[in-house]
């Protein structure tokens, strides 16, 4: 199949606070529309599950309509529906899965319940074309930090390691709070860090040389808080930019180091970075530097495709169809802890 003959897939993503609707044809992106409830969560300093679930229910119909309008399509043009079945917030996932089942049933088209993490990997094909087999994928966001070996995103994804405590994005949020920067912390730390020095303060790098592909950011977060508290108690001004830059450096140093170790260990020449933290400028720069030195090709989707979105779900649905994978049944559950080894349910 190629070009206009490829099926049009509607992708639905509701695993966290973004109601993401995507439309793709094969590897071609037709629309990627997002309604976010982030503003409603900001004052709570983190995503409130019930607030997110309520927002998904309200945003679904208008977001689907606006995606269809953007792509110049009607409901009857949709050939398949793909939806994030997990992992994610249970109540939030359930709204998306219910919508997807109803669209599938109502349109008489197949349903694909897919893994959110695999979708983060598949989305890059919309921008950079077919994913080399195998690839290594580093997925970093407020909800997950995972290192994956991806022989084939449609049917074979292997977990090499993941965070043992906080997700990378969560550490950004918590450190931002300590520094008095707004939620979500990632973009604010990134911005503040540009005027600071990444080597000003030697913060600890958890699991740096432990020989695994797991991460740990909880100790780092605590070290930053302790450092700031000590200076505050002594009446000193906090050098926010230096703290932000040094913290950020510690995170991206570990992330990129382990990602490239994985490339070496499995003799893989292509590294993909996805998830919201992939938007971090220092992560991109250091990853590029280390990939160049190691002869590894780096793929990072543009920011709008890195953060949670519907196009990534549609992109994986498209892959599953191309691979001839059986559609899901209408009784599939939303699984908040769906393992990465389960690409589709």
């Amino acid at each position: 199949m190629s070009g206009r003959d490829e099926p049009i897939v509607l992708g639905i993503e509701t695993s966290c606070d973004e109601t993401g609707i995507g439309l793709v044809r094969g590897h071609t992106l037709l629309a990627n529309t997002i309604a976010s409830s982030m503003e409603e969560h900001a004052r709570f300093g983190g995503v409130v599950p019930e607030v997110a679930s309520r927002a998904h229910l309200e945003a679904m119909a208008p977001t689907v309509e606006s995606a269809l309008a953007k792509a110049g399509l009607r409901f009857s043009d949709i050939d398949a529906v793909a939806v994030t079945a997990g992992p994610g917030l249970a109540g939030a996932l359930l709204v998306g899965v219910a919508a997807a089942k109803a669209y599938s049933l109502g349109l008489g088209v197949p349903l694909y319940g897919v893994n959110h993490l695999a979708a983060h990997v598949a989305v890059d094909q919309l921008e950079h074309g077919p994913l080399p087999k195998p690839s290594i994928a580093l997925l970093v966001s407020g909800g997950h930090s995972s290192l994956l070996l991806v022989p084939d995103v449609a049917q074979d994804v292997i977990s090499l390691g993941s965070t043992v405590d906080d997700a990378a994005g969560e550490a950004f949020d918590k450190v931002a709070r300590v520094l008095g920067l707004p939620f979500p912390g990632g973009p604010h730390i990134d911005r503040s860090a540009t005027s600071g020095s990444g080597t000003a303060i030697a913060f600890p790098r958890g699991k740096y040389d432990d020989g695994t592909f797991d991460f740990s950011f909880s100790g780092l977060k605590t070290a930053v808080a302790r450092w700031v508290e000590a200076r505050t108690a002594a009446g000193e001004t906090i050098p926010v930019a230096d703290v932000a830059a040094s913290f950020q450096e510690a995170v991206v140093d570990v992330l990129t180091r382990k990602a490239l170790q994985a490339c070496r260990r499995y003799d893989v020449k292509d590294l993909l970075i996805g998830g919201g933290v992939a938007a971090n400028s220092r992560l991109r720069a250091l990853a590029q530097e280390r990939c160049d030195a190691a002869g590894v090709r780096l793929r990072v989707p543009r920011p709008g495709l890195c953060t949670d979105n519907g196009a990534m779900v549609a992109a994986l649905g498209s892959e599953l169809i191309a691979a001839g994978i059986q559609p899901s049944t209408l009784d599939i559950p939303a699984d908040s802890s769906l393992p990465i080894t389960t690409v589709n349910v």
Binding site: S53, A61, L94, A98
Partner: protein, 240 residues
């Protein structure tokens, strides 16, 4: 007229088809934890049972609660998405109204359903078609005294309210929901039908708004409780 009705505001996952005169097919499964898994197959089943296609459906109606929110949203989301694909309106009806309607009672009574956290969602009715007060959420011993109480909330708290007040039905039926909707949809002008289905901005999360609801309204949930969430204070110190 072919009304597809569904309700997931209680442990009962229920779907039915009604042709304006009678219930053609109905499915009810009681499982408080699997609304998302059971509902779509139930809709498929009732359609197949009367050899109907979704294309034939002229309106979709969902129980709007109040009810435990996670399950409640499954029904409303399903109704609104199904209606959109077929190009018909989706409506919501207060789930307690549907339970009241199913009772066929002609004297005053209460409807109470399980709100969890040792509370009930309840409303007071003059007869099967007339809501006088509610929906509200309260503790069972705060329910107005003496009137008979129908709905699962009555059974769960039979000790508190008095076993002799407990009456049927226990759960809403989509058949009754569909029949109630059909009664209200009959004779509506297209303009009025569209107006009733239009979803306004914002959520119903105050008792006042919920009480003002018309029997047939937009397919959106009646929440009655605000999300549990604390606005954080200053970050906790990590050093003692």
């Amino acid at each position: 007229m072919l009304v597809l009705a569904l309700d997931t505001a209680t442990p009962a996952v229920t779907a039915a088809l009604h042709d304006g005169a009678r219930v053609l097919a109905e499915s009810t499964t009681v499982d408080a934890r699997r609304h998302g898994e059971l509902l779509a197959p139930a809709v498929e089943r009732v359609l197949r049972e009367c050899d109907a296609s979704l294309r034939d459906v002229t309106a979709v109606v969902a129980g709007a609660g109040p009810g435990p929110y996670t399950g409640l949203r499954v029904g409303l989301m399903t109704a609104s998405a199904l209606a959109a694909t077929v190009g018909v309106h989706a409506y919501g009806i207060c789930t307690l109204d549907a339970i009241a309607f199913a009772s066929g009672r002609t004297e005053p009574f209460l409807v109470a359903t399980d709100a969890r956290r040792k509370e009930v969602f309840w409303a007071r009715y003059g007869d099967a078609r007339t809501r006088l007060d509610g929906p509200r959420v309260d503790r069972p011993h705060d329910l107005p005294g003496e009137l008979p109480v129908i709905g699962a909330g009555a059974r769960i708290y039979a000790e508190t309210i008095g076993p002799d007040r407990v009456a049927d039905p226990e759960y809403p039926s989509a058949g009754a929901l569909a029949a109630l909707a059909a009664e209200h949809l009959a004779g509506l002008t297209p303009e009025r039908a569209a107006e009733l289905a239009r979803v306004p901005d914002g959520r119903i999360d105050s008792v006042e708004q919920a009480i003002e609801l018309a029997v047939l309204g937009p397919a959106r949930p009646i929440y009655l409780r605000r999300p549990d969430a604390q606005i954080p204070g200053a970050p906790k110190k990590v050093t003692a």
